[in-house]
């Protein structure tokens, strides 16, 4: 079903629609088939210019079994179509899904929707009875039948999918090309013939800026942003990581692109992931480690080492529902506190966040630029929702991206002092092993400017202050906060990270609601206080229990904050955001 959804999305993108997709799948690879918890879903939202979320409610629900219907019926609009494979709605299937009555639609109170009961499995078998394929292979083709029906409903020509089928099977399984095309075609014709489809849609292309586009998901965009930073800094990329859902895609993607000089090391554990990256950074590479919440917990001590050694490092945390193992495949923004505060000692680390799948590219690039130019570890927060979600992306040109300039030390005839700083930026120099004359020692123990061990009280206080100042001065190098909407008023809606699309959509739906979204969390943009001061109330919307709200309150206690939170492992619904915003206005 994930593949069928992707195909429909890709086809729509090529047609010129804007789109946003959200794969929602269980943590188990082969989750118990036919049970509600084992449903693997793929949400596609296509349309014109305003599509920036996967959408709350659907026009078409395709349920291949009773469990899928049960899990998703509540998302059907009043006038939605529900396409079901009746072959799967037998006694066993109904029982597995936990239906109490014989009418699943009535039981779920969706009996008034346009239900299109179709014996998809039977029709597929009929379609391929002379194909010579075995039953197992034939059954696998039923998703193609469904896709054919969806293509009719959305008035889509089949050429794109024909081409896909040919490209996929021509070499290795030429015997599958014709059967898949036939089933797709039969599905399309079936939908056209049955006259049970109440309405078909024609979703016009969006008004998209001229250019070359591609689809990209957040993890892929993150990996590519890291590669872009490697190219622009002229530093080889090193990624030391341990597989963890939902971040593994970044490591997998980087592992493909060795042609750009990227080295990937699949470490023996999360700690080795970050420690190999710290070693690589010491040796002069652009070093990265990628993880999710539990992995970030394991990396904590080593993050402190990177702060103390003042080495550039990017740590990508693709957040998932926690605490502990939590719900690994579901999205959340609950690692913010961990990213900001989760270390021993006074241990400041810049934190930035990606706000959409494609934005992961820029966010990863910027994280690297800050890390390298300011000689500090940086935590980049992504989320399962944007890491796995995808959207069309107007392909940028690398000539429009800035150079990244590492503050490399040169031998100047005297011993190198690793913690002497640029007085403006407070950034120390990076002396790469192998450079003659710059031999020096770094490590976790407190040192003085010369790099000599020191437990002197005044020196410790000075070094703590300097490390902090270095990070806070990054505010001078990041963009200012902007407000989408009126420059002052009663309520400012505030968000960060992957909630951007939902919040913006909600603000647009209501009308002229001011909205400020933070891509840079620590330090915050320089004008943050000034922006917040123009509104009576600040409504902070986030997928946790109020971590960013508490952070802002700590920084700017003079303002009136209201929180809107959700911790269900799911993205916001636009609907619940509009209600929260209206309530903030009226309250």
């Amino acid at each position: 079903m994930q593949l069928t959804g992707s195909l429909f999305a890709d086809m729509s993108a090529v047609y010129g629609n804007k789109l946003s997709v959200f794969p929602d799948y269980p943590a188990e690879i082969r989750a118990p088939h036919g049970t509600v918890s084992g449903v693997s879903g793929f949400q596609v939202h296509i349309g014109g210019d305003d599509v920036i979320t996967p959408g709350d409610f659907c026009d078409l629900l395709v349920a291949m079994n009773p469990a899928a219907l049960k899990a998703n019926a509540k998302w059907c609009k009043r006038n939605a179509m529900i396409l079901v494979d009746t072959d799967a709605f037998d006694e066993a299937g109904m029982k597995k899904a936990g239906f109490q009555t014989e009418d699943p639609f009535l039981e779920l109170r969706v009996e008034d929707r346009a239900i299109i009961p179709t014996p998809i499995t039977t029709l597929t078998m009929e379609s391929l009875k002379d194909s010579g394929l075995d039953m197992k292979t034939i059954r696998k083709c039923k998703n193609m039948f469904t896709l054919g029906m969806a293509c009719f409903i959305y008035s889509r020509p089949l050429e794109y999918i024909y081409n896909y089928i040919e490209a996929k099977f021509a070499k290795k399984h030429p015997e599958l090309v014709e059967p898949n095309k036939r089933v797709l075609n039969d599905g399309f014709n079936y939908a056209a013939n049955i006259q049970a489809i109440p309405n078909t849609y024609e979703v016009k292309p969006a008004h998209m800026k001229k250019g070359t586009y591609r689809n990209i998901n957040g993890n892929q965009a993150t990996a590519w942003g890291l590669l872009a930073a490697s190219e622009k800094s002229h530093l080889p990329l090193f990624c030391g990581s341990y597989p963890i859902t939902p971040a593994t895609g970044i490591l997998e993607e980087l592992a493909i692109h060795k042609s750009l000089g990227a080295k990937t090391l699949q470490a023996e554990d999360e700690i080795a992931g970050i420690c190999t990256a710290i070693g690589a950074s010491f040796a002069g590479n652009l070093a990265v480690t990628t993880t999710s919440g539990p992995g970030l917990s394991l990396k904590t001590e080593a993050l402190g080492l990177a702060v103390m050694a003042e080495l550039p490092l990017v740590v990508v945390d693709v957040q998932r529902a926690g605490p502990s193992t939590g719900i690994p495949t579901k999205t959340e923004q609950t690692d913010l506190n961990q990213a900001l505060y989760g270390r021993n000692g006074e241990c400041p680390i810049p934190v930035i966040a990606a706000h959409s799948p494609a934005h992961c590219f820029d966010a990863a690039f910027n994280a690297c630029k800050i890390a390298v130019e300011h000689m500090t570890p940086v935590i980049l927060l992504s989320e399962g929702f944007i890491g796995n979600g995808s959207e069309p992306w107007r392909i940028p040109s690398m000539k429009d991206y800035p150079e990244i300039v590492p503050p490399l030390a040169r031998y100047e005839g005297h011993p190198f002092h690793p913690f002497e700083r640029d007085p403006e930026t407070m950034v120390p120099k990076w002396a790469i092993p192998g450079t003659k004359g710059l031999e020096h020692r770094v490590g976790g123990l407190e040192k003085n400017h010369e790099g000599v061990l020191s437990s002197d009280p005044a020196n410790h206080a000075l070094m703590v202050a300097e490390r902090q100042a270095k990070v806070e001065k990054i505010a001078d190098f990041i963009p200012e906060l902007t407000v989408n909407g009126p420059a002052s008023g009663k309520v400012l809606v505030v968000g960060w990270g992957g909630t951007f699309g939902h919040i913006l959509t909600a603000c647009h739906e209501i009308g002229d609601v001011p909205f400020a979204h933070f891509d840079y969390i620590y330090p915050v943009p320089r004008n943050t206080r000034e922006i917040l001061s123009r509104y009576e109330k600040i409504l902070v919307c986030e997928l946790n229990n109020g971590q960013f709200a508490a952070y802002l309150r700590n920084l700017f206690p003079e303002f009136h904050y209201i929180k809107f939170n959700k911790v269900q492992g799911q993205p916001f619904l636009v609907e619940e955001l509009t209600e929260a915003i209206k309530e903030a206005y009226n309250g």
């Binding site: 890709d10 993108a13 090529v14 010129g16 998209m208 800026k209 001229k210 250019g211 070359t212 586009y213 591609r214 590519w224 590669l227 872009a228 190219e231 080889p236 090193f238 030391g240 692109h257 060795k258 042609s259 750009l260 000089g261 990227a262 080295k263 090391l265 470490a267 023996e268 700690i271 080795a272 420690c275 190999t276 710290i278 070693g279 690589a280 950074s281 010491f282 040796a283 002069g284 590479n285 070093a287 001590e301 080593a302 402190g304 080492l305 392909i395 040109s397 690398m398 092993p433 192998g434 003659k436 004359g437 710059l438 031999e439 020096h440 020692r441 770094v442 490590g443 976790g444 061990l453």
Partner: protein, 339 residues
């Protein structure tokens, strides 16, 4: 290539180990070995990086005038691995203790060996946690009485040699802190070895575990209770050089040459380069009272290294791939035009 001497490797930092600590001698051996290594391999001084974890012995990088990284407890091996992969041209020396490498860092230790990454690990084994003032370590003898085992430990120790060989290590050597000449010999051999070289140094902690290795290091008994193995040489030991090791049944037996019908021809000749892990394992496992403890290079075999593998694969893919810039990457695969 300037002629380097041991002074070139001495930093200006005051060495702060306890007087009488075995670590002093290991440091001296390293500072004396590296000029020889440089001579043999043409290495410049800036090519050396000394890495450590946490513990008494992990202070070592501060005393070496090279690039150095004093990392965190147990993680030296991971940091070393990252440095070596990032820049295989660098030559890595790592100092770590028995608690550091085998308890908290055990995972990184075995995986570095499994990968056979080209780093040189000096394992300071004093069988105690010294810096935290005297708790038992994973190499403390069964029953050891320490601050955290006042009634004796009830757990078996690791033999680092069998751990290394069990992970299919390609280089393992053992020595005593006091064997300065042998240690230089071992360190030079480790430097020449491509892959993970583990050198177990049995060191004395004068404060918390004084005399832990005295049954071996005491000059009165050393020659009889240890055997120095050298590739190609007969396995002969003893004060009078009249004892030898022979294969007997399924194992190794110590015999007196000329007695019970054993002649010098029966005595084994050490082959450090054989792939045969069994004989190396037996040698690494030898202990008193029946057998001498093996010192010297027990195993030194060739195998592919991880750092070479990573580098070669990048080169291969670069040569074959059509994508050589990020712009090309961004336009690879399915794209479409919007007019």
């Amino acid at each position: 290539m300037a002629n380097l001497t041991f002074k070139d490797f001495k930093s200006d930092q005051e060495v702060r180990w306890c007087p009488g600590c075995g670590d002093h001698a290991v440091l001296a051996a390293l500072q004396r070995s590296l000029p020889k290594v440089s001579q043999a391999l043409g290495y410049e001084k800036e090519r050396y990086v000394v890495v450590s974890g946490i513990g008494c012995s992990s202070r070592l990088p501060y005393y070496m005038d090279t690039y150095g990284f004093h990392s965190i407890h147990g993680r030296a091996t991971a940091v070393s691995t990252g440095i070596k992969v990032a820049n295989p041209w660098l030559t890595i020396w790592q100092a770590c203790g028995d608690g550091d490498a085998l308890a908290i860092g055990g995972n990184h230790f075995i995986h570095a060996i499994r990968r056979n990454i080209d780093i040189n690990i000096i394992l300071f084994n004093n069988q105690i946690y010294g810096l935290t003032k005297g708790q038992y370590s994973p190499t403390s003898k069964f029953g050891a009485i320490t601050k955290t085992s006042p009634y004796g430990t009830v757990e078996h120790p690791f033999n680092p040699g069998s751990l290394v060989l069990g992970a299919k290590g390609t280089f393992f050597a053992r020595s005593l802190d006091v064997e300065l000449a042998l240690n230089e010999e071992i360190m030079t051999a480790a430097a020449l070895h491509d892959g993970t070289s583990v050198m177990e140094m049995l060191t004395n902690c004068v404060i918390f575990n004084d005399g832990a290795h005295k049954n071996l290091s005491d000059p009165a008994v050393r020659a009889d209770r240890t055997i120095v193995l050298r590739h190609g040489e007969k396995m002969v030991f003893g004060k009078d050089r009249n004892k030898g090791l022979v294969l007997f049944g399924m194992g190794i037996k110590a015999v007196t040459i000329g007695e019970d019908g054993f002649t010098i021809d029966d005595v084994l000749t050490h082959d450090a380069h054989t792939d045969n892990m069994g004989i190396h394992m037996m040698l690494a496992d030898m202990k008193g009272p029946d057998l001498p403890v093996a010192l010297g290079v027990i195993r030194d075999v060739k195998d592919i290294t991880y750092d070479d593998g990573v580098r070669d694969q990048v080169k291969d893919v670069m040569a074959k791939s059509k994508i050589h810039s990020v712009d090309e990457l961004l336009h690879s695969g399915s794209t479409w035009e919007v007019e």
